[in-house]
């Protein structure tokens, strides 16, 4: 066998090994910077806490809340229905695990706006147009939903509906967060993403 054939065989064998190795497929940023910027600056990519409260009260199955805070913060206080994906974990793992289902709108939130906005740019840059943020994060939730009060004598039907939604969402929030620690951990654990579960198929 001449040297050219030997090198060809060697390269083929090495690439065969590569084909069998579990290499992680890094995804590329597909959005053009200017377009991405205008997309994430658009109001259509964010939901107010009132809109999120309505999703929670209606138990909307097309919405998934993603809490980007640390597991400790999440255990202390979480919005009902949210799953915890700490920001560093979100950035360093394959986003397809969290955002792969295109029929679900994923709404990021954290304590404030910074991390959800970063996550939004990252996710939309990778082509996940089903990513949104909750404006103001947990801080805004506390201000608007938890501290809502009815004052005055008259209330319009519209205000009444809004007040009812806030009250119900606030109750759900308090119920979840006042569970004993052991029960809460179990409940939150059951809501953790599992790649295996998401893969589907028969077991």
């Amino acid at each position: 066998m001449n040297i050219r054939k030997e090198i060809s065989v060697l390269l083929l064998l090495l690439s065969l090994i590569l084909a069998l190795l579990p290499l992680s497929a890094n995804r590329s940023f597909v959005a053009k910077p200017e377009r991405l910027l205008s997309e994430v600056m658009n109001e259509g990519v964010s939901f107010t806490v009132d809109q999120v409260a309505e999703f929670i009260v209606r138990e909307d199955p097309s919405v998934q809340l993603i809490d980007l805070r640390s597991p400790e913060d999440f255990r202390r206080q979480a919005v009902p229905g949210a799953v915890n994906v700490p920001y560093p974990e979100f950035i360093n793992s394959d986003p397809d695990i969290w955002l792969g289902n295109r029929n679900i709108r994923n709404i990021f939130y954290s304590t404030g706006d910074l991390e959800p906005d970063y996550a939004l740019v990252y996710a939309r840059g990778l082509g996940y147009g089903n990513s949104y943020v909750m404006e103001g994060g947990i801080a805004e939730w506390e201000r608007t939903i938890m501290q809502t009060r009815f004052t005055g004598n008259r209330i319009t039907a519209r205000e009444n509906a809004l007040f009812e939604t806030r009250r119900r969402a606030g109750e759900m929030f308090t119920e979840l967060n006042s569970l004993p620690d052991s029960l809460k951990s179990k409940f939150l654990e059951s809501r953790k993403f599992s790649a295996k579960k998401l893969d589907g198929g028969c077991e």
């Binding site: 060809s8 083929l12 090495l14 590569l18 290499l23 590329s28």
Partner: protein, 200 residues
């Protein structure tokens, strides 16, 4: 360990020095392989000498295999390796212009500079043509901006577009390369021009 150069880690002068050393090594290798002869490069078009295809494709697949193994063993962070952005229309139009320039001039930009450095007159004309083209492109950019930016796909990789793993894509590419080398050797026999190749 790698990439060797990073905007945030190395000072600018060290990045430039790294580029100079790598560039000098690359130029030396090109000249040693006889790539500063336009007849050798034109041979690729006419089929009598397919060294260009074999050398560049071998370099590409060796780098591909090496970088993936290094990535797997944690020696290279492939996330930090720059991937060119893909403008579909510009790539097609630019590819046709570059191909035409390649066969008319007998050089690609790298080998042209290589031949220029050993004093070849045709390379001087070729590089002057390259500068003229760059000037024309810059001056006419406002008029062709839309075309240049059309069909932007981002820094997408082929394996991503095909939805296959990087390792499987490497295997397919290497198999295709080996098949091409075999066809290239057959072409060299069929279109042999001993009066040219014996001189190279």
């Amino acid at each position: 360990m790698a990439p060797l150069s990073s905007y945030y880690v190395f000072p600018e002068w060290l990045s430039m020095l790294t580029a100079l050393l790598i560039g000098t090594g690359f130029g030396f290798a090109l000249e040693q392989a006889g790539f500063s002869s336009s007849r050798k490069l034109a041979g690729m078009f006419y089929g009598y000498d397919t060294t260009v295809l074999k050398v560049f494709f071998t370099a590409a697949i060796v780098a591909l295999i090496g970088s993936q193994f290094m990535g797997f063993f944690g020696l290279l962070n492939l996330n930090q390796v720059y991937v060119n952005e893909f403008y579909v229309t510009a790539s097609i139009v630019g590819g046709v212009i570059m191909g035409a320039g390649f066969i008319m001039g007998g050089f690609c930009p790298g080998t042209g500079l290589c031949a220029l450095s050993i004093g070849k007159i045709d390379a001087m004309v070729f590089i002057a043509g390259g500068f003229a083209g760059a000037f024309l492109f810059t001056e006419s950019y406002p008029k062709i901006e839309e075309l240049a930016n059309a069909n932007f796909r981002g820094p997408v990789k082929i394996n991503e577009a095909l939805g296959i793993s990087p390792g499987l894509f490497t295997l397919i590419l290497v198999a295709a390369a080996v098949a091409m080398f075999w066809i290239a050797e057959l072409a060299e026999k069929k279109f042999a021009r001993p009066e040219i190749t014996n001189e190279l």
